[in-house]
């Protein structure tokens, strides 16, 4: 345990944060400097997160790289207590990868690029913090920090969508509503995302306070999750208490995980957001929610979790099927991906709700796999959009001819998302199904059907957009830039790696899941 080991977790948080602060002093009008610097910073974080993931001793298990920094003593008792278990290790790695990819992809940001990277790095730092914080105060602190930059990131660098679909007919009868038309200015997307997510954190905050107050009856009140965990092991928290506090965490974090019916921020937000931000947000940020449910909800309030899981599994299944079905009739590339994220986060939620070791492992692996997959999709859509300024799949077509690489990478990501064996998506979803089969059979079957629905809209998307004869208006298109190729290739390799040899991940996740499941 050398000094670096000890401070590695702190570094994951500090390096991006320091990077953000330093970038503020870069010259304003030289976009590339900001970009290079951001690459430099995110590369360091990537290395650290890799080190952490590899350095995590899955044989020993439990919390590792523990470090406690005094922050506030009596009467509040808050320490900056950092530690990482198997689950966190995986997600830390995910964040490292996606952050790096997002920064690379953001080469195209030229306007106020310095501010952009400041916010992006701050976001990354917040995400790291949530994964490794062992104190409710700091968990929440970083959680909010991760949400904070989104408004500006989307509002300033995002893009609005105005989409008039012709009136739909059902059985030949014109319907009273436009089924497909929507009008989503970026301000709306940003504002909704911000308010809904912070709204979720209102519940979380109340829940945290409730925990604090409840722990008051047993010695000094505390925010330390370790102590609270001990207390709940000793049965300090009455079932009634758990039953009303757990939903606060379940919904509060669930909102960020895209839990139905609080998911609508996610498609609109992701569509409005610039590429890099969509990658980070769909790729990593949504995982914070699921992670929070596990780390705070399940670990601190096991009985409440057991009482509420039936509800959660229902919602998760709704996510899966509902998301897939609504994705089917979308015409905007990003909306399809946005809804598919909703659908895929459904698997994560289901896996959590199974309270089954295999299902939970699947949920965590799905977080990782979906993170990479959806980030790749957004990256490629961004590449296409940069060139065509169109995202309507009824207008796009035959891109395979003009943008072979982009199309190829996107196709791989799409196949991963429809759960094709050999790619990461399958292994994860399969584990979720396995867990669900043992616990909630009917919902498991629905979820499997949902996976089949995914195939429908993904194939529709591929067929419409990439295959076919290229429209002359795409004559002049250039293929993905070197940077985009690098990111795409790297992510595709990760997808393949996890799909073909998931053991390095599962063995790490398993120990984390083990310690969580030992409470049930």
């Amino acid at each position: 345990m050398n000094s670096f080991d000890q401070s590695a977790l702190l570094l994951t948080i500090l390096v991006p944060l320091a990077g953000a602060v330093l970038s503020m002093f870069l010259p304003r009008n030289r976009p590339n400097d900001a970009w290079y610097f951001a690459i430099f910073v995110s590369a360091i974080t990537l290395v650290i997160s890799l080190f952490l993931f590899v350095g995590y001793d899955f044989a020993a298990g439990g919390y590792q790289f523990v470090r406690v920094y005094e922050w506030l003593d009596e009467p509040l008792n808050i320490d900056l207590h950092l530690a990482m278990d198997g689950i966190a290790a995986t997600l830390v790695l995910l964040n490292g990868i996606v952050l790096f990819g997002a920064v690379l992809i953001s080469q195209t940001i030229k306007h106020r690029s310095r501010d952009f990277f400041v916010l992006l790095l701050a976001l990354g730092s917040g995400v790291f913090g949530v994964f490794v914080a062992q104190d409710l105060f700091f968990l929440f602190f970083f959680y909010e920090l991760a949400v904070l930059p989104m408004y500006l990131l989307i509002g300033v660098w995002g893009s609005s969508t105005i989409f008039e679909a012709d009136r739909q007919r059902l059985w030949g009868i014109p319907l009273p509503f436009d089924l497909g038309s929507y009008n989503r200015p970026k301000e709306y997307g940003a504002m909704k995302l911000m308010l809904v997510l912070v709204g979720g954190s209102v519940l979380i905050w109340v829940g945290i306070l409730a925990m604090y107050v409840a722990s008051d009856q047993f010695g000094s009140p505390t925010f330390s999750m370790q102590i609270l965990g001990e207390l709940s092991k000793e049965g300090a928290f009455s079932p009634t208490f758990q039953n009303w506090v757990f939903p606060l965490f379940m919904i509060g974090f669930g909102v960020l995980a895209g839990l139905w019916p609080f998911h609508t921020w996610s498609p609109d937000g992701h569509v409005a957001a610039p590429t890099g931000v969509s990658m980070l947000h769909a790729g990593v940020l949504m995982k914070l929610g699921a992670f929070g449910i596990i780390r705070v909800g399940m670990v601190l309030l096991p009985e409440g979790a057991e009482a509420w899981m039936p509800v959660l599994i229902v919602l998760g299944t709704v996510n899966v099927v509902y998301g897939a079905i609504s994705a089917m009739s979308q015409r905007d590339l990003k909306y399809i991906i946005g809804y598919s994220s909703v659908s895929h986060m459904g698997y994560v939620i289901m896996g959590i709700a199974t309270l089954h070791p295999v299902g939970l492992t699947g949920a965590v692996l799905q977080m990782f796999s979906h993170g990479i997959m959806t980030a790749l999709m957004f990256a490629m859509v961004g590449a296409i959009y940069e060139r065509t300024h169109v995202r309507d799949i009824t207008i796009l077509n035959g891109l395979m001819k003009r943008m072979g690489f982009a199309s190829f990478f996107f196709a791989i990501a799409g196949l991963a998302s429809l759960g094709l064996p050999g790619l990461s998506g399958f292994v994860a979803e399969f584990m979720v199904f396995t867990g669900a089969f043992k616990t909630y059979l009917p919902f498991a079957i629905l979820a499997v059907i949902g996976a089949a629905l995914t195939a429908i809209y993904i194939l529709r998307l591929l067929a419409r957009t990439f295959f076919g004869e290229a429209d002359p208006r795409w004559e002049g298109l250039t293929d993905a830039s070197p940077v985009e190729k690098t990111v795409g290739a790297a992510f595709v390799l990760i997808l393949l790696f996890v799909g073909v040899w998931p053991a390095p991940f599962t063995r790490v996740i398993n120990v984390g899941v083990d310690s969580v499941m030992s409470l049930f």
């Binding site: 089924l179 699947g362 035959g398 094709l420 399969f430 429908i456 194939l459």
Partner: protein, 642 residues
């Protein structure tokens, strides 16, 4: 024998090579793929020999569950999930293995797949000559055959499912290979989605079995089933669910719709994937999971019935279809139906036997059709005729395939079909045997039709310029033809060398070639009769069909309309699925979002707008409010202090 895993792995290995460097390799990497499969074919013989010499004492081998046949398993752990070190039977941990199993079924499938694949890939050299994306073509081919071989080698259901999906993907990619044209694009999508629906059943079935057995390993599952650890309900359900997957892949009614459209792909693909190997995977699955199926009479009956319906229906459509490849496609469906029927009738050996025989013959037929298309660029049989003049080799080889499949004695098809008839006759009620015989007759008839219309009768003049197939194509067809002719002899007992397929591919106990004279006679009569009638009707045109057409106008129309199954599907998708999804999308935006999420926000803002008017700007109103507040405060204070 352990080295069997090399067979797929080699082909897997060449895929990335071809994708990455194909453009720079000679022949755009096609030799690479062919060499890979050639190596696979070579290793197959090693494995075959090893297996024949293996005994239950051989390392890794044992007598299979519910069968006397030898089964050899070799595996290494792939990944595990759940509580580390927990007992898998406690369902808290799953352990998935890269595992191969080698038994007669596997061996025969290996042989068929490697051989036909080899033939087809060589054939493609000529057929796909000059295609700009030939490197991708061969990459997909290599990927397909690798997955197919994994599928037959897999020793646990999950690995099987993995391969199962991958072959589906390759079929998708190869059907849509010419994606510039809309039809292949749609056909590919259709194929993937329809099979995917079946796969849902398969996956659910697999997981259902796991949730009762606690393992994905086939041998353990079979052992559990044989040991009666599972309730009959579970067994039946899981069998049916597995069969759902099989129906999807093997294009059984009502999932057969994708196969005819799949003919939009390059013809060699149709030969390899949609005739010989992949579509047989469904049959293979049922055979592989036979311990489960045979444990449930309901399941068996369902399999048989579906098989019969498919066989009969497809045969009738094939009889009226006008597109050469579609005729073959429907005949494929029909024969797959026969195999299912035979399995349902406990005709395990017969089914596999027919699978192999049909594989060779149908591959041959498709390649023949391919060479016809290649030279004539024509598919509509009504515009063909007498082609034997210009392409004699193809004509002969095609005819051999047709006759063999039509069940003309001593050709391969005859023996296998006979076995099936016996099985049906023994295990199912008379209705089945009657209808089976009818199917047999029909299949002979449409084969005769295809063969005579295309190659015999009056020569269609506009094909003057047409010339015969290039050597790469004709040689491969020739080799296949040899099998189409002589493979049937494998049924016979050759003392010393090989005591008959009946003792090789066995379930429960082996038995030599049975020969029920009257059945053989009937089937022979039917087949020969069909061909004679076909000759008269289609080649000599001496029999006028108009009368028949008029009398059977309606059934004819229905058959030509392919029983309107496609229309039904189309309607469902357009009117039900898409409408539903549009509605959900609207619901999401208009209600969940604009009301559920925006609503509270708007209300709050509106509240603010209303509330702000309480600051009137008149100073006395401020004082008034202060005074009221003061009074309220005093009263409230008084209330709480008492």
């Amino acid at each position: 024998m352990v080295w069997a895993w090399l067979i797929p792995v080699i082909s897997f290995a060449v895929v990335p090579l071809i994708i990455l460097f194909g453009k720079r390799l000679p022949g755009k990497g096609s030799p690479l793929a062919i060499l890979a499969i050639l190596a696979g074919f070579a290793i197959f013989w090693v494995v075959f020999a090893g297996f024949l010499s293996a005994t239950p004492e051989t390392e890794g081998c044992a007598t299979g569950v519910g069968t006397k046949a030898l089964t050899c398993n070799f595996q290494i752990t792939w990944f595990e999930a759940g509580i580390p070190g927990a007992d898998t039977s406690g369902f808290d941990r799953i352990e998935i293995a890269w595992g191969i199993t080698i038994d007669p079924l596997t061996v025969s499938m290996l042989g068929l797949a490697t051989f036909v694949a080899l033939m087809v890939q060589i054939y493609s050299l000529g057929y796909m000559h000059g295609d700009p994306r030939i490197d991708w073509y061969y990459a997909f081919h290599a990927l397909f055959i690798a997955s197919m071989l994994t599928l037959v080698l897999a020793d646990n259901f999950l690995l099987l499912y993995v391969a199962w999906e991958l072959v589906g993907l390759c079929s998708y990619l190869l059907i849509g290979f010419w994606h510039e044209r809309p039809e292949p694009r749609e056909a590919a999508k259709k194929a993937f989605i329809v099979t995917r629906i079946g796969d849902v059943g398969l996956l659910v079935g697999i997981l259902l079995l796991w949730s009762h057995v606690g393992s994905f390993s086939m041998s353990e599952t079979f052992a559990a089933v044989a040991g009666g650890e599972l309730s009959d309900g579970v067994v039946t359900f899981s069998a049916l669910l597995l069969f759902l997957g099989a129906m999807g892949k093997s294009a059984q009614f009502p999932f057969h719709v994708w196969l005819p459209d799949a003919m939009e792909g390059p013809t060699p693909v149709s030969a390899l994937i949609h005739a010989a190997t992949m579509v047989a995977a469904g049959v293979y699955l049922v055979a592989r999971a036979f311990p489960i199926f045979s444990a449930s009479d309901t399941a068996m009956l369902v399999v048989a019935t579906i098989g019969l319906i498919t066989a009969l229906g497809a045969a009738t459509i094939a009889l009226v279809a006008t597109d050469l490849k579609r005729i073959l496609a429907y005949s494929t469906i029909s024969h797959l139906g026969l195999m299912m029927l035979s399995l349902g009738a406990a005709g395990y050996t017969a089914a596999i036997f027919h699978l192999l025989a049909h594989g060779f013959a149908k591959a041959l037929l498709f390649l023949g059709a391919g060479s016809v298309m290649h030279s004539t660029e024509e598919l509509d049989v009504r515009r063909m005729g007498g082609l034997r003049k210009v392409m004699p080799v193809t004509a002969i080889l095609f005819s051999i395939g047709a006759l063999s499949l039509g069940g003309i004695p001593i050709l391969a098809g005859f023996w296998s079909k006979d076995e099936i008839l016996i099985a049906v006759n023994d295990h199912l009620n008379p209705v089945f045997i009657v209808l089976t015989l009818l199917t047999a007759f029909l299949s002979a008839l449409y084969m005769a039709r295809a063969m005579f219309v295309v190659f015999y009768g009056k020569f269609a003049e506009h094909f003057e310029h047409v010339h015969d197939a290039p050597p790469t194509m004709s040689i491969t067809m020739g080799l296949l033809a040899v099998f189409a002719v002589f493979f049937g002899l494998a049924a016979l007992n050759w003392p010393g060398a090989f005591d008959g397929i009946g003792y090789f591919i066995i379930y429960e106990k082996g038995h030599g070639l049975e020969f029920v004279v009257w059945l053989a006679a009937v089937s022979t009569v039917l087949a020969v009769g069909a061909f004679i009638y076909g000759y008269l009707a289609y080649a000599r045109k001496s029999v006028n069909l108009e009368g028949a057409r008029r009398t059977f106008a309606l059934p004819l129309k229905i058959a030509e309309g392919r029983y309107y199954v496609d229309e039904l599907y189309q309607w469902t998708i357009d009117r039900v699925v898409l409408s539903l999804s549009r509605f959900v999308a609207w619901f999401d935006r208009a209600l969940v979002n604009d009301v559920g999420i925006n609503g509270p926000g708007d209300i709050t803002r509106g509240l603010g707008e209303k509330l702000k008017y309480h600051v009137t700007g008149y100073v006395y109103s401020y004082v008034l409010v202060m005074a009221l507040g003061l009074i309220g405060l005093a009263i409230f204070w008084w209330l709480v202090s008492r």
